[in-house]
């Protein structure tokens, strides 16, 4: 194989694997969108909050695994308080009200996290090196980071478990029913508060996992909040309500941004991966607003 083509594949694979990390963040958004039809602007803050707390617990001396469990517990508490203090009082208000509330919630979480754990950038060592795996590099000549590969595997695992939860379980049916029509769901006895608690806790756990992988690469810092907003173009392309959409969207964004950066970037003076995904998203908004896998807006006339 020519080295040009090999290089292209390397860029592509690196992009795809980086894309799975976007997908992971996007999954958290999808969960909440599916159950409350709201874009949760606090998701980025939740990622930051989760991973900063995780690192904080480890600094306090908790072993890796225990710290992870404690953080999951903490995210459930965050879910519980969100349901109690934000969602329940806003029940039956318009979706816009809820959207604004999530922006506020985001600021609260960012503030709480930094008040509790401080503002300096932390290092997170998952024990997985962010270096190319020599075995693969030697045999096919492509350099793939072990961290990228792990992220891909973790994302795949999360997606499969969430897909099973949504389509194969009673809780999943309840979740989808609430997303479609909370009033009707409550008329047949589906307890809205349990569903909301579950969804927000699950989104918290997804945020923690995404935060760990991002934190291991970019450091645990405030910039994670903005990084998480990269999930926005992912969701626009994949569809806000679709779990497979979050994955495919992430892969598309990850690979195109890297390929564009390498091949077209130089003509624009580089650093186009910051905005190229948004251009792609605008294109999708014009041509296919529900995204690739999103639920078509059903309107009977």
């Amino acid at each position: 194989m020519g080295s040009e083509i090999l290089f292209f594949f390397e860029v592509l694979v690196g992009g795809l694997l980086a894309g799975t990390m976007y997908s992971l963040v996007a999954l958290g958004f999808v969960l909440i969108y599916k159950a409350s039809a709201t874009f949760n602007f606090a998701q980025g803050a939740m990622v930051f909050f989760a991973v900063l707390s995780f690192v904080g617990f480890m600094e306090l001396g908790l072993p890796f695994f225990l710290a992870f469990l404690v953080t999951i517990g903490l995210m459930v508490v965050v879910g519980l308080s969100t349901e109690r203090l934000v969602l329940r009082p806003l029940m039956n208000q318009s979706e816009d009200t809820l959207l604004m509330a999530t922006i506020g919630l985001g600021y609260v979480l960012e503030g709480l996290a930094q008040a509790a754990w401080g503002v300096e950038v932390r290092r997170l060592d998952l024990g997985i090196p962010d270096f190319p795996i020599m075995f693969i590099a030697d045999s096919i000549g492509i350099f793939i980071s072990a961290l990228d590969l792990t992220a891909g595997a973790v994302a795949a695992f999360m997606v499969i478990s969430l897909a099973v939860l949504f389509t194969q379980t009673k809780i999943g049916l309840g979740l989808r029913a609430v997303a479609d029509d909370p009033g009707a769901a409550s008329s047949i006895g589906i307890p809205l508060k349990h569903i909301m608690l579950l969804v927000w806790s699950a989104a918290g756990v997804v945020a923690l996992v995404a935060g760990c992988l991002w934190g291991a690469r970019a450091g645990v810092q405030f910039a994670l909040v903005d990084l998480a907003l990269k999930a926005l173009p992912v969701l626009i392309i994949g569809g806000f309500s679709s779990i497979p959409g979050a994955i495919v969207g992430g892969l598309i964004i990850g690979s195109t941004e890297k390929v564009l950066e390498v091949y077209i970037g130089p003509f624009f003076g580089g650093a186009i991966e910051g905005w190229a995904p948004y251009v792609l998203a605008v294109f999708f908004l014009l041509k296919r607003p529900e995204g690739l896998f999103g639920e078509k807006i059903i309107r009977r006339v």
Binding site: A177, A184, I188, I190
Partner: protein, 271 residues
């Protein structure tokens, strides 16, 4: 007027007053009884307070910032004031909301199954319950895999009733099942409702604007206007009542009339 013995009533509403947002008076005085195993029709025009009455019973008022401020509601011997919709479903009372409210993105079958959410059933029990519902609604079986949002209005009404019945209710509150449906479909749905009442023994409180078909299919009727019960009686007596005939059925001694004619005549008499 209504002389039913209280121990036989599955639902008793006594002089309730309902206020929305602490200021809007929706119901000023409604009392009604639903004897166990019967179909009772609650009739009246838009804004009369039919839906509000049903929602006070199913306790869904709270989610619309409404409150029962006076009177009492007793379902199956239990006061409902402190309960929530989920409790009511567990106690066997399910409301089919106005406008059907199917889960548009779920399939017809998933919609129906979702009705059994509060029951602890195994997969095979759910399937046998589902088959039982499909016997009442064969049309739904044909369309089981379609997305509910793309089915017809009549089918959606059937989905909503089947979904509610999956909770195995003792009592069903139906809010305007005839809304926006062709007359033939309305007939079809009322036939099934009657059948459910007969075979499953479910008591039904039915809010309707379509006075004629509602009374033909119920045992007892209440007519409410601006939040008050104006008239009640057995369905048969109401169907033959001159006032009801004239105002709600558009029939007078001179034959069929529409509401506008009735109004004109009343004006003439007054003027």
């Amino acid at each position: 007027m209504s002389n039913q013995n209280s121990s036989e009533n599955i639902l008793e509403i006594k002089n309730i007053e309902v206020v929305y947002d602490d200021v809007i008076l929706a119901i000023s005085d409604v009392s009604l009884n639903v004897p166990d195993g019967s179909i009772v029709a609650l009739l009246g025009g838009n804004g009369a307070g039919k839906s509000t009455t049903l929602k006070s019973v199913s306790t869904m008022l709270a989610s619309e910032r409404g409150k029962v401020t006076k009177g009492s509601i007793t379902y199956n011997g239990q006061r409902v004031e402190k309960l929530n919709p989920s409790d009511m479903v567990n106690l066997g009372l399910v409301q089919v909301l106005e406008g059907r409210r199917c889960f548009g993105h779920l399939t017809v079958e998933e919609n129906v199954i979702s009705g059994a959410y509060t029951r602890k059933l195994s997969k095979s029990e759910i399937n046998s319950e589902l088959e039982r519902m499909y016997n009442y609604f064969p049309r739904l079986k044909e369309r089981r895999k379609s997305q509910a949002g793309f089915t017809s209005g009549g089918e959606q009404q059937m989905i909503a009733v089947a979904r509610a019945m999956m909770a195995k209710p003792k009592m069903l509150l139906l809010d305007e099942p005839s809304m926006g449906l062709a007359p033939q479909l309305v007939e079809e749905i009322f036939v099934i409702v009657k059948e459910l009442n007969d075979k499953e023994g479910v008591s039904i409180l039915l809010a309707e604007q379509n006075t004629n078909i509602a009374l033909r299919n119920s045992d007892y009727g209440y007519i409410i206007e601006t939040g008050q019960v104006m008239l009640d009686g057995s369905a048969k007596s109401l169907l033959n009542d001159d006032k009801v005939k004239e105002f709600y059925l558009g029939i007078s001694s001179e034959g069929r009339k529409n509401f506008r004619d009735v109004l004109k005549e009343t004006k003439k008499i007054k003027g």
